[in-house]
Each structure stands twice: as structure tokens, then as C-alpha cells.
């Protein structure tokens, strides 16, 4: 008889098949969620980009630094807003973004504002203090919540609790590619490149007040955009991961079926030999 018994192989094939059913179902769920998330990203992306470009434009041509949002501070207390998923089984989605942010925390007095269960658990295990864990369920964070978070961030920044605020999220490049990224939210920095502007900008009523009103809106918009990107990226990553898991299960089933047939054949041959030899 060949190595393994037919019964053992049969059990393995059965368990493989039920695994395949689960991964297949998860793939389909992710694919349908991905369609919604993708539509949202496509709608919100122009907003995200225009908002970012407009603010960058204003900051680059600004010459009045009376607003505290524009002043670079010397300390190293950094706050990281990290957007990850609530659940695993999404390929490298969670670990990529968490690793990237964790590497950037090196040498800084870091605090996090985790969004998503995986982010909460990760930073808790690393012993990094969290500003708040109210937003632990990434799936439940609404656009209203984004603006509440933005208010919270700008208040904390104005009270000088932090010197820098960064956001870590995952860019949804395409269905097959997602890249983790970080972005500095505060203070707003002037880009050294680009020609110096000659014209001044008129602030209505004045610069400090304009930045005071615009910055929370800006942070809220960026947060919402980053959240949309991350959600779409999570579903895309999960779909790809589950697709390859299903494929692997199919390969294994094919392999095991072959082994099963060989073992069965061997058993029959042996039986025949025994009968022939006995008569």
C-alpha cells in the first residue's frame, strides 16, 4: 500500500474543500464591498486632491506666519493617526501600514489615534499611548466622525500637546496594488520647491482667523479622503488574498485527489495480487 491510507487523504480533501468554500465566500463578500468602496474613492478623490492642492497653494504663497498652524515647533512629540482594518485575512494590508508607522515613530515621543481594531491592538501591544480609542471600529467611522476627530486634533495641537501630527493610511492605487503612506497634517509646511509668488493673498477677515477656521475643515477632509482610500485598499487586499487562498486550496485538492486515486489503485492492485497468490 502507498504511504498514506485512502481514508486519511479523504478527510484532508474534505477539510480542504470546506476551507475553500470559506475563502471563496470571503472573496465574494470583499469583491462586492470593494465595488462600493471603489465608487466612493472615485467620488471623493477630486475633493481630497483639490483640498490638498488649495491648502498647499495658500501655504506656499503665504507670508504671514501669525497662525500657530504654520509654525514649526522644536519638540518631538508626534501624534500619529493610523487607519487600519478591523479584521485580518487581508494579506499584508494591516501589517504594512502598521510597520510603516511604527518605523517612523522611532526616536519620537509618539502617541497614536488608532482607527480600526488591528491598529488599536498593535499599538497597545507595543505600549504606545493612545489619545482616544473611541474610533476603534474603522467600519463605523462616518464623515461626521472625521470632522469631530479633526476638531479634536486641532484643539490638541493648539494646546501644544503635540508638535507634529501625521496620518498613516493606505493608498488605493488599483485593485491589485495598494501602498501604505504617511502624510504630515500639521504644522502646514511650505514646500521649498516652486517659484516664490509675488502677489499677496487677501485673507478675509485675517490670516490667523482664516487658518483657524480652515485647518479643522482641511484635517477633516484629509481624514475622510484617507479613510475612503484605506477602506477600498482593505477590501482590494482581502479580495486578492482570498482569491489566492482559494486558488491554493484548489491546487491542494487536485494534488490530494491524485494521491487518493493512486492510493486507491495501489490498494486494488494489492488485493488482486493477494487473491491471485492465494488461489
Amino acid at each position: 500500500m502507498a504511504g498514506v491510507s485512502t481514508k486519511e487523504i479523504k478527510t484532508r480533501i474534505r477539510s480542504m474543500e470546506s476551507t475553500k468554500q470559506i475563502t471563496k465566500a470571503m472573496e465574494m463578500v470583499a469583491a462586492s464591498k470593494l465595488r462600493h468602496a471603489q465608487a466612493r474613492v472615485i467620488n471623493s478623490r477630486p475633493y481630497f486632491e483639490t483640498l490638498y492642492n488649495t491648502i498647499t497653494d495658500i501655504v506656499n504663497s503665504n507670508s504671514d506666519f501669525s497662525s500657530p498652524y504654520l509654525v514649526r515647533r522644536t519638540g518631538s512629540r508626534k501624534l500619529f493617526v493610523v487607519i487600519a482594518g478591523d479584521r485580518g485575512l487581508a494579506g499584508g494590508y494591516n501589517s504594512n501600514i502598521l510597520k510603516l508607522v511604527y518605523a517612523q515613530m522611532d526616536g519620537a515621543e509618539a502617541t497614536v489615534l488608532p482607527i480600526g481594531r488591528k491598529a488599536v491592538d498593535f499599538f497597545r501591544s507595543k505600549g504606545i499611548p493612545a489619545l482616544t480609542e473611541t474610533y476603534s471600529d474603522a467600519a463605523d467611522v462616518s464623515i461626521g466622525d472625521c470632522f469631530s476627530i479633526a476638531k479634536l486634533l486641532s484643539k490638541a495641537y493648539l494646546k501644544e500637546e503635540f508638535d507634529e501630527i501625521h496620518i498613516g493610511y493606505t493608498n488605493f492605487v488599483s485593485v491589485l496594488s495598494q501602498t501604505p503612506a504617511t502624510l504630515q497634517m500639521l504644522p502646514l509646511l511650505q514646500q521649498p520647491s516652486g517659484k516664490p509668488r509675488k502677489t499677496e493673498i487677501l485673507y478675509e477677515p485675517d490670516s490667523t482667523e482664516v487658518f483657524g477656521a480652515i485647518v479643522p475643515e482641511y484635517l477633516g477632509g484629509i481624514l475622510y479622503g484617507a479613510l475612503c482610500e484605506s477602506r477600498a485598499a482593505e477590501q482590494a487586499a482581502r479580495r486578492t488574498a482570498m482569491e489566492s487562498a482559494t486558488q491554493n486550496a484548489e491546487d491542494m485538492i487536485a494534488d490530494l485527489s491524485l494521491k487518493f486515486n493512486q492510493a486507491r489503485q495501489a490498494a486494488i492492485t494489492q488485493e488482486i495480487t493477494e487473491i491471485v497468490a492465494g488461489s
Binding site: N43, Y47, L202, E217
Partner: protein
């Protein structure tokens, strides 16, 4: 009148892109009218009606939060919510208004509930008044 470029964008997607003759937006410090050749300017938006004049015709929208910028002759409205008068569901706005009013009238509402209801009431009022321009 000389036309100039206007882009209106909200998290739900782009709302308008094209040449206009005049814009009137409600900023946090009052209404601001913009025509072609205006100096570079930035203002935070309050809650209110935005009026856009295209080919002598007025078009109204409910514009809530965000910022207005005019840089190098190009105007941009980056709004938190923006709805054209014809897209507003007047019945929904009316219902939201009634609900918010109920919360404000009840005696046992908490401070956060009152703050939320006040914000809802203001949004509903803006929508209702803009929807009247249909």
C-alpha cells in the same frame, strides 16, 4: 461681463466646473461677492446660500462649511456639503427641521443633543430657503 473659471467640489464628488460671471458665497464673516480679476483671496465658508451667475442667469446652491479660494484668477469652492437648489429634497429638509425643533423644544435633551440639533436646524433652514429658489 468677463467670465472666469470656477470649480465646486465636495466629498460626494465634483459639483461644478466651468466659466461663470459672478459668485456670491456666504463666508464666516458675511457674504462675499467675486468677479473676474479679483485679487487672490481665501475665506472660510459658513452656512448659507451660494449664488453663481452664468450667462446672466442665477443658479443657487446650499453651501455648508469648507473654504473658498481665488488664486491666479481661478476660483475654487471646497465645500463640506454642497447641493444645487434643484437637487435638494425639500421634504427631507422640512422633516429634519421638524425633528431638530422637537429636540430643542423637549426639556430633557442633553447639551450635546442640543448642540447637534442646533447644527441640524441651521442646515435644514439653509436647505429649505435655497430649495425655495427652484
Amino acid at each position: 461681463m468677463t467670465p472666469f473659471r470656477l470649480t465646486i467640489i465636495s466629498p460626494d464628488g465634483p459639483k461644478f466646473e466651468g466659466d461663470v460671471e459672478e459668485i456670491i458665497v456666504r463666508t464666516t464673516s458675511g457674504d462675499l461677492g467675486i468677479m473676474a480679476g479679483h485679487a487672490n483671496c481665501v475665506a472660510p465658508l459658513g452656512m448659507g446660500q451660494a449664488t453663481v451667475i452664468i450667462d446672466g442667469k442665477k443658479r443657487y446652491g446650499a453651501c455648508i462649511g469648507g473654504l473658498f479660494s481665488m488664486v491666479d484668477g481661478k476660483a475654487t469652492i471646497v465645500a463640506t456639503t454642497f447641493e444645487w437648489a434643484e437637487d435638494i429634497d425639500a421634504q427631507r429638509a422640512e422633516a429634519a427641521y421638524q425633528r431638530a425643533q422637537q429636540v430643542l423644544d423637549s426639556k430633557d435633551a442633553s447639551d450635546t443633543e442640543i448642540a447637534l440639533a442646533q447644527a441640524r436646524l441651521r442646515r435644514a433652514l439653509v436647505r429649505k430657503s435655497v430649495a425655495g429658489h427652484k
